[in-house]
């Protein structure tokens, strides 16, 4: 039978398409026939009365199992075997054929009906257990019992009075055959289809079978009514092993019980045939019913548990998957946030770096510009630097005022192309180089050539425009040379002039520039203005317009002092809150002293003494004083100033005031300080006061707690000053 396991359906029909299928079909028919015949022979050995009342008829179970596992088309094997079995025990061939037909029709009907009710041969649901009992066993075998018993009566094998009895025996025998044998056969394929048993489970199965076999054997042989011991054992098998344990156990138990009943062993010996029959059939029915029902129940429960577990697992899986998805999404989100944060941070770092660079460049530039104008008595100076308001650009604009020997004043203004720290640094180098060259030799051509050579050696990438001028206060003469810079402007007295001569290419452009020196005298009351292009250049506008504007604004303010002049020009020419390019502006105005009293305030330091004398000399010359008077007044005033420088401010720096005027043909000079003046006579030598007294007509030293005033007077030799000799 195992060869047919799982081969359901209509594959083995007469319409089998291949020879191989036909061979397989015929083999199956033969196998079913042989099994049916063997089962029948076994069943006959279990007969209670003579050889035809059999309480257990296995072939019916075999036929039902064959139709359920294989195909109902195997019926010829069943029919042939049934005929072969019945022929020797029937009254003629016809009776045997009719009986065989009944024997064939019953399992066929069972198979059809079970198919109708949706029976599953795995017997793993309660309805399957109910179906095999009521439809497969009890209902369908009514056919074979009726036909078989009827045939017995009709063929006169038995009397009609025994019809009911024969029918009942036939029916119960067939039913029991189905109940005990069919489930056993149906369970065999399950050993292959269901998960294999572990060795421990096999051991348990064998143990159950042994216990069941031993118990039923003892119970059947015993004089006691011990059959009730069996249900727990069958229950155990069903509970632990389901159909695969229950069906074999039930089979063994039923076979042994039936065998014992047929042999009238033990306790069965006391009973009548009917009583034995009744006891056996109820016993077998109970065993079959309870074992299959319990097995189905447990299977169902197990399946529910498994489904529940699978659902749980699936749920866990889904939770796990969902959690993983969520955490992946979360990680992505975090990564995105992190990236964005980093980008923002980088951006802010870059902004900060740009800002820092701007600040550095501006600080650098401011530190490179003179923090204040030098105090030069001969000239008034003012300068302004206005950085571009744009957030990144710091230019290379710069200016410088250098005091040179012989009272000369060096003036420079320039523009290093480019922006940022490198431009500011380049500017610093140019400025320092220019200073060094100017001190060495103030000549404009010499200074410009020197700076040009230096820049060539430095291989400075930036282009530099530069104008350098030397001003001699004594002659009010400017000497200058210009390397590509906007022209300086002289304004004053209603006149203006741009110094457009001597324009050479910017520094670092040509290899060997030919610098030329040009001269310009500043007229009385004029002011020199130096500036960078930011002052006069506007976008989409000719620079000529800017230059005209500068002249106009400068002339409007020609009377103002140099600081007011610078502020006024800046505010009128550029938008102070939006400076497109850096602007540097430098104003220098020679002090006009002729005919007016002289008043100088200077820091009381040794280096200013020469300046003070220079201004005083210029003033004396402008006042048409003779050379002798000039020389001697200069020494007297110089001594008074030197005394202030040397003695007035022992602890803290202070200032020195020199005033001079011409009154009634005499020069009155005053030197004052706010310190503790001591008479030159009080220190070694005493040459100072001696000289002052020797050179001046009168000397008056007025010493107070607030300081000292030295008043000196000298009558001038020349009568034109209104004084007598």
């Amino acid at each position: 039978m195992t060869g047919l396991a799982g081969k359901r359906g209509s594959r083995w029909t007469f319409g089998a398409r291949s020879r191989r299928d036909l061979v397989r079909y015929l083999s199956a028919v033969l196998l079913v026939g042989v099994a049916y015949y063997v089962g029948a022979r076994m069943g006959l050995t279990l007969s209670l009365v003579e050889r035809n009342v059999t309480p257990l008829w296995p072939p019916t179970g075999i036929a039902v199992a064959a139709f359920l596992l294989g195909s109902r088309s195997l019926w010829p094997g069943v029919a042939a075997a049934a005929f072969a079995v019945n022929l020797p025990i029937s009254e003629g061939a016809l009776a045997a054929a009719v009986t065989a037909a009944g024997n064939t029709l019953a399992p066929l009907a069972a198979a059809v009906l079970l198919g109708r009710v949706g029976f599953r041969r795995q017997l793993d649901r309660r309805r399957d257990a109910l179906a095999i009992v009521f439809v497969g066993a009890l209902a369908s075998t009514l056919i074979s019992a009726t036909i078989g018993a009827g045939t017995l009566v009709v063929s006169d094998a038995i009397g009609s009075d025994r019809l009911l009895n024969a029918w009942a025996v036939w029916w119960t025998g067939d039913a029991m055959g189905v109940l005990t044998v069919a489930p056993f056969l149906l369970c065999l394929p399950l050993f292959r289809e269901l998960p294999a048993w572990s060795p421990a489970r096999w051991l348990e199965a064998v143990a159950i079978l042994v216990v069941a076999g031993a118990t039923i054997t003892w119970a059947a042989q015993s004089e006691l009514r011990a059959l009730y011991l069996l249900p727990p054992v069958v229950g155990w098998a069903a509970w632990r092993l389901q159909l695969r344990g229950a069906a074999p156990t039930a089979l063994v138990v039923s076979l042994v019980a039936t065998w014992s009943a047929s042999q009238a062993d033990g306790w069965f010996a006391r009973e009548s045939v009917f009583e034995r029959m009744f006891t056996l059939q109820t016993f077998n029915a109970c065993i079959a019913l309870s074992s299959f029902f319990l097995a189905a129940l447990v299977t169902e429960r197990n399946r529910t548990a498994a489904a529940l577990e699978a659902a749980t697992v699936e749920l866990e899986d889904r939770v796990e998957t969902r959690t993983a998805e969520l955490s992946a999404a979360n990680a992505r989100l975090l990564e995105e946030i992190k990236e964005r944060f980093e980008a923002e941070e980088q951006l802010s770092q870059e902004e900060a770096r740009a800002r820092r660079e701007h600040e550095i460049a501006e600080i650098l530039q401011r530190s490179l510009l003179p923090d204040r104008m030098p105090q030069i008595p001969a000239v008034a100076l003012a300068a302004r630097y206005e950085p571009a308001t744009s957030d990144v650009e710091v230019g290379g604009d710069w200016y410088d005022v250098i005091q040179l020997r012989d009272g000369l004043i060096g003036l420079a203004i320039g523009d290093v192309a480019g922006h940022g720290p490198s431009a500011a640094a380049a500017m610093g180098q140019v400025r320092m180089a220019l200073r060094a060259y100017a001190v060495q030799d103030p000549s404009p051509v010499s200074v410009m050539s020197g700076v040009h050579r230096l820049l060539s050696h430095l291989a400075m990438p930036e282009m530099v425009t530069l104008i350098y001028l030397v001003f001699d206060p004594a002659t009010r003469t400017l000497r200058f040379t210009n390397a590509g810079h906007p022209p300086p402007l002289i304004v004053g007295g209603g006149k203006s002039k741009y110094l457009e001569n001597g324009l050479a290419p910017p520094l670092g452009v040509t290899a060997e520039p030919d610098y030329m020196e040009y001269r310009q005298t500043m007229w009385a009351g004029s002011t020199l203005l130096l500036y960078t292009d930011g002052l006069v250049e506007r976008r989409r506008e000719s620079i000529q317009l800017g230059l005209h504007r500068l002249v106009r604004e400068a002339l409007r303010r020609q009377g103002a002092d140099v600081d007011e002049l610078c502020d006024g020009i800046l505010s009128s020419l550029i938008e102070m809150d939006h400076v497109a390019d850096d602007v540097a502006l430098l104003a220098m105005r020679p002090l006009s002293v002729a005919g007016r009293p002289l008043a100088l305030t200077l820091p009381a330091e040794p280096r200013v003494l020469a300046d003070a004398r220079r201004v005083l000399r210029q003033w004396l010359r402008d006042s048409a004083v003779t050379t002798e008077d000039e020389d001697e007044i200069l020494v007297a005033c110089g001594e008074a100033c030197a005394n202030v420088v040397q003695h007035a401010y022992a602890t803290a720096p202070g200032s020195l005031v020199l005033e001079a005027r011409i009154v009634e043909g005499a020069v009155e000079a005053t030197v004052r300080d706010q310190g503790a003046w001591r008479a030159p006579a009080e220190r070694g030598g005493g040459w100072g006061l001696q000289l002052i007294r020797g050179l001046m007509d009168s000397v008056d030293v007025d010493r107070t707690a607030d300081g000292t005033v030295v008043r000196m007077r000298r009558r001038l030799k020349d009568a034109e000053h209104g004084g007598g000799g």
Binding site: L404, L609, T627, D631, A642, G685, W687
Partner: protein, 109 residues
């Protein structure tokens, strides 16, 4: 050297002529003294300080010249001055009576 004064020296045989151009005042007197000292070789026995081109000389400069003469005297070196009659500093020389203490000539010759 400061921008205010320039010192140069010419030595012929044992005589060194030191010429000071510019101005001598409180701010540079010490430097001028050092420059003169440096310009005079030890072998020189006679030093001529030419003040013809000295535009300005104040008490600090006078004191410096007196000390210079004193120091040279220790070395048995003689100092003489050249102050032309029309020199801007002549009044200072006269008032301090320097020409009475240090031999003074109108010219280098």
């Amino acid at each position: 050297m400061t921008d205010l004064a320039h010192v140069d020296a010419t030595t012929v045989d044992s005589t060194t002529i030191v010429r000071v151009r510019g101005e001598i005042d409180l701010s540079n007197a010490a430097e001028v003294r050092d420059a003169i000292g440096a310009a005079v070789p030890d072998a020189t026995t006679s030093i001529v300080l030419d003040l013809s081109d000295t535009a300005y000389l104040d008490s600090a400069g006078i004191a410096m010249i007196f000390r210079l003469a004193e120091r040279l005297g220790y070395n048995r070196q003689e100092l003489r001055l050249v102050v032309p009659p029309d020199a801007p500093i002549r009044a200072v020389i006269r008032l301090t009576q320097m020409d009475r203490i240090i031999p003074t000539h109108h010219s280098v010759d």
